[in-house]
Each structure stands twice: as structure tokens, then as C-alpha cells.
Amino acid sequence: MSKNRVSRRQFLNYTLTGVGGFMAAGMLMPMVRFAVDPVLQAAGESDFIPTKQKVAEVTETPTRVDYTFEQQDAWYTSEVTGTAWVYKDEKGEIVALSPVCKHLGCVVDWNTDKSNPDHFYCPCHGGLYTKDGTNVPGTPPAAPLDVYPYTEKDGFLYLGKAEPRKEA
């Protein structure tokens, strides 16, 4: 006979505590997991979307850069195409402008209006923007074109979500 004989009472005590512990843990774990979830949430790929445009190849003339990303609407994923006008300004910094006219949302084009060269031109109602995206007074749009934040990764241009310009 071993010295540490476990009595029936002790055995039941241990078993009950053990099972109770598991049950409590089973209830608490999901709660804790829910509570700390935002902290554990991976920062993800951030919101920058890759484009096929090489940063080194950006010129001073605005060029059209298309990018696609997957948009999730509930369980339905669809591929959405976006566009940006990208160029280098005098300081050599990259500017990425949204092509959506601030008037009623048509798509603006660079340098297509013959009477106003080197402007962004909206074919719908003749909205004009200068190269830096500022709206020309006297044309319908009331705000400058939105600007994409951007980063560079492995030599390629990554675009964020277009933001309205604060100044002007």
C-alpha cells in the first residue's frame, strides 16, 4: 500500500475541480479571445495596392496607371479596376491623382482638350484641372482632384485610398 492513498472524497474533489476548471476555461477562453481580438488583428498588407508601374519609370507627363484589387462584398469577391494619373513634379516627387471629376464623377483625361493643353479635362461638362489637380475657376468642379497616398516597394508603386485635398 502506498502512503499517499487517495480517498474516495479526495478523488472526487480533484475530478470535479478538474472538470469544472475545463468548463470555466471553455467559457472564458472565447470571451478573452473576443476581447483581445482587435490587438491580435494583423495590420495586414496595409491598404496599399500594388500597381504595375515602376517608380523609376514615372515621367513628368501624367500617365495612366491601372490597378486591380479584390473587393469583398460579404462573401462575394469581385475584381475592381482603379485608375490613377501618375507623374513626377518639379521637385522629383511622385504625384498620383484620382481621375474622378469632383463635379459629378466622370473620368478626366490628360491633355485631350485642344484649347487647353496640359490640363486635366473632363469630357462631360468641360471641367478643367491644372497639372497638380487644382480645379480651374469658372469650370464646374468645385474642388481639386483627390490624391492617392503612395509608397514604393521593390521598385513598384503602391497606391493607397484616394483622399480629398485639404488645401485650396
Binding site: T81, H103, L104, C106, V107, P123, C124, H125
Partner: protein, 154 residues
């Protein structure tokens, strides 16, 4: 603007800027030409989405005129005529009919709205990127056509 509540809100507010209505003509049939009508309907639907994105501020993209190909020419023409009369009465200066069905091409002179006929492309065999770039090209061609009509109308 699309035929959805959100866009119609904008339409009601900015009515003076919207002077163009686009009506896609979508054929339906269950005979031997079922595949062909599906391809045409599909192509025109996809194209109208892109077109709307390009010109959303000036045109309203109507939900589409679906018709049976087996119906007679005269009944189709009178059905479409009612649309055109209504749109004109609502003050749309430019009405565009978008179609792949060559039947309409032969009836063009009996239509009031500007008919835009594009041969449908076999989009079902293309992967998505290629398809989008093809549609983009088509829309670019239409862009000039629209701008021209707008300029002539002013």
C-alpha cells in the same frame, strides 16, 4: 448614373447637367440563336457598366430594353418608340441606343435616338484582365463618339 437609388438622388439634384440617356438593347430568344443572344446581351451589359463609369456625370444608364427576337419588327419598333418619346418628353437632349443586334442596324432610319451598334465579342473565352482592357478600348472609341455628338448638339 445608374438606375439605383443612390445615383437617382444625385440625378434629381443635378438634373440640369444630365442631358443624355443611354438605353442598352438586350435581345432574348430561346431558338437556335440562344447563344448568340446571350453573348450580345452579356457584351452590351458589360460595356454599359464601363461606359457609365466613364460618363457618369452626364448620362443616365437605363436598366435596358429587353426584347424577344421572335417578336415582329413593327412591334419592336413601336415598343422602342414609346421609350424614345418618353425620354424626349423628359427633356433628354441626347438618346443613345446601345446594341450588338444587327437587326436594329437595318432599322436605324426608323429610330429617333442615335443607334450605336458594336459587334459583340466572344468575351467568355477571355480572362478577366484581357477582357477589361478590350472593353476599355471599346469605351475609348465610344468616348469620341459621345463627345462629338455632345459638341454638335451645343
Amino acid at each position: 448614373m445608374k438606375w439605383v437609388s443612390q445615383d437617382i438622388e444625385m440625378f434629381l439634384k443635378e438634373k440640369q447637367y444630365v442631358d443624355t440617356a443611354v438605353l442598352p438593347l438586350l435581345p432574348v430568344s430561346f431558338g437556335d440563336d440562344i447563344k448568340q443572344s446571350v453573348a450580345m446581351t452579356e457584351f452590351i451589359s458589360l460595356l454599359s457598366v464601363q461606359l457609365e463609369r466613364q460618363f457618369r456625370g452626364r448620362l443616365i444608364m437605363l436598366p435596358g430594353f429587353a426584347y424577344l427576337r421572335s417578336a415582329g419588327e413593327d412591334s419592336l419598333l413601336s415598343g422602342l418608340g414609346k421609350w424614345e418619346t418618353e425620354l424626349k418628353a423628359q427633356g433628354f437632349k441626347h438618346i443613345f441606343l446601345l446594341t450588338s443586334d444587327s437587326m436594329w442596324k437595318s432599322l436605324e432610319d426608323r429610330l429617333e435616338g442615335g443607334l450605336i451598334w458594336l459587334p459583340s465579342l466572344p468575351l467568355e473565352h477571355m480572362d478577366e484582365n484581357y477582357r477589361n482592357s478590350i472593353l476599355d478600348d471599346q469605351v475609348k472609341q465610344l468616348l469620341n463618339l459621345f463627345v462629338q455628338k455632345w459638341q454638335n448638339g451645343e
